[in-house]
């Protein structure tokens, strides 16, 4: 862990961009509230038109899809923080939608990552067993906890992610002198072709038992908040176990498939699925990811990192204040 050298010019540009994005978010929400209110005044029984919110949700998810791809995140954390923070849906439904959105994203990306050797199945197997077991427990806890407690805890978690993203210096190819006994027994090592350098990279891992305990905690957190927690998986795989960053990112997607499957079943069986939230979210996120790929080739990733960090900071403060009843 160490400090990354800051760039004041980039940071200030990022703040301006993020401010604009936040204004868009608030503006979109206000417009939707206005439209809903106007329709409620004319509709029999004062019913809020569901389609207005479905369209707003589609737009938000599209935006989250772009930002999460450009920011190098899975999307679940951004989805829960932004949709849960700015739209009127209850956190139960938002968390379930988030789990399914992140699951669909991971299922789409997983096969390609496996084919290119960027995701390693052997590395994912013990880790996913721990996260998926934790996710069941987390989902049961999360659905029982009062919403304001979850909001406050989510706020603190998001602020923690901000600190992690600012301070953690991920290693491209960490040095692992000797694999630990458990990883050697399970045959967790590999070779992949780094297409950027056209070199074959051989890797092995260490500290597997400690990492497995951390994966259990990550699973619990993922279940409570309805996120994939890819940022946490990548951190453990890369910084603790010593997997190369590309293998860590790819393998994290495979782990999310299992984590979110477990948690999603618990939310599904507990009746937290609202289709008008789930399906537009999945479609919006997927369209946003495709659009994000086109933007990615034209924009410097470092700027986007600052935008995502600033958004998470804003959403974390919002969640904290919402949970404390200060900003509803």
């Amino acid at each position: 862990m160490g400090k990354r050298p800051g760039n004041p010019l980039l940071a200030s540009k990022a703040i301006i961009l993020t401010g604009g994005l936040m204004l868009c978010l608030v503006g979109l929400t206000e417009t939707a509230w206005g439209a809903a209110g106007a329709a409620a005044a004319t509709a029999p029984g004062g019913a809020t038109p569901w389609w207005v919110w479905a369209l707003v949700l589609l737009g938000f998810s599209f935006l989250v899809g772009i930002l999460s791809l450009l920011g190098g995140m899975g999307g679940g954390t951004l989805f829960v923080s932004i949709i849960g923070g700015f739209l009127p849906f209850h956190l139960d439904f938002v968390r379930c939608a988030s789990l399914l959105v992140a699951l669909c994203g991971a299922l789409s990306a997983g096969p390609g990552l496996l084919r290119f050797g960027m995701g390693d199945l052997r590395l994912s197997l013990p880790a996913a067993l721990m996260t998926s077991s934790g996710a069941i427990l987390g989902a049961m806890i999360g659905l029982r906890l009062p919403t304001h407690i979850v909001q406050v805890a989510l706020g603190f978690t998001l602020l923690g992610v901000v600190v992690l993203l600012l301070r953690a210096r991920r290693a491209e190819y960490p040095e692992v002198k000797e694999p630990d006994a458990l990883s050697a027994l399970l045959g967790i090592h590999g070779i992949y072709l780094d297409r950027a350098t056209e070199e074959e990279v051989s890797w092995k891992v260490h500290r597997t038992p400690v990492a497995l305990l951390l994966f259990l905690l990550i699973g619990i957190m993922a279940g409570v908040f309805g996120i994939g927690a890819g940022w946490a998986n990548v951190t453990v795989l890369n910084l603790i176990m010593g997997a190369p960053i590309k293998v860590a990112v790819g393998t994290s997607k495979l782990i999310i498939c299992l984590t979110n499957t477990s948690a999603a079943w618990i939310y599904l069986h507990s009746g937290a699925v609202l289709l008008v939230i789930v399906v537009p979210s999945i479609i919006g996120m997927m369209l946003g990811s495709w659009a994000g790929v086109n933007i990615l080739v034209r924009i410097a990733p470092i700027r986007l990192r600052y935008i995502v960090i600033a958004l998470l900071l804003f959403a974390g403060i919002r969640s904290l204040l919402k949970g404390l009843g200060i900003w509803n």
Binding site: A47, F89, L107, G110, L114, L125, I136, T147, L275, V279
Partner: protein, 137 residues
Amino acid sequence: MSEMQKFDIQLFYARVIDRAAKLGFLLLLLTFSIYMGGILTPYVPLEDLPQYWSRPASLYLEANRIQTGWGWVAELHHGDMLNFFPIAILAGVTIFGYLCLVCKLLRNREVILGMIVIFQVMVLILAASGILRTGGH
């Protein structure tokens, strides 16, 4: 086991989840179109949803007398409940993938990894069984 054999197993798993996930996505788009098009009457009318979505899931279930767990299977003739079928497929992709994987691993005498996969399938089946659920707060 050689690196090539390991990679073969990885490719096999990739193929299985790729096909199953694509099937799930396509079915979800189809059933959601049926729901939005009003071809099948929904269990809960679309216009009623806004009065529930700001409240905890438990209140939504109680107000509409919706069965939790696998109760939706008996209501598949409703447009909204029909969508639970592709969602269950998407949430079942990895279970199916791992079931296929366990056979492949055991055939290659990868006993320890095979056991991990069996434990994983048991965890996922426990989650999918509907035994573990909560009525919310």
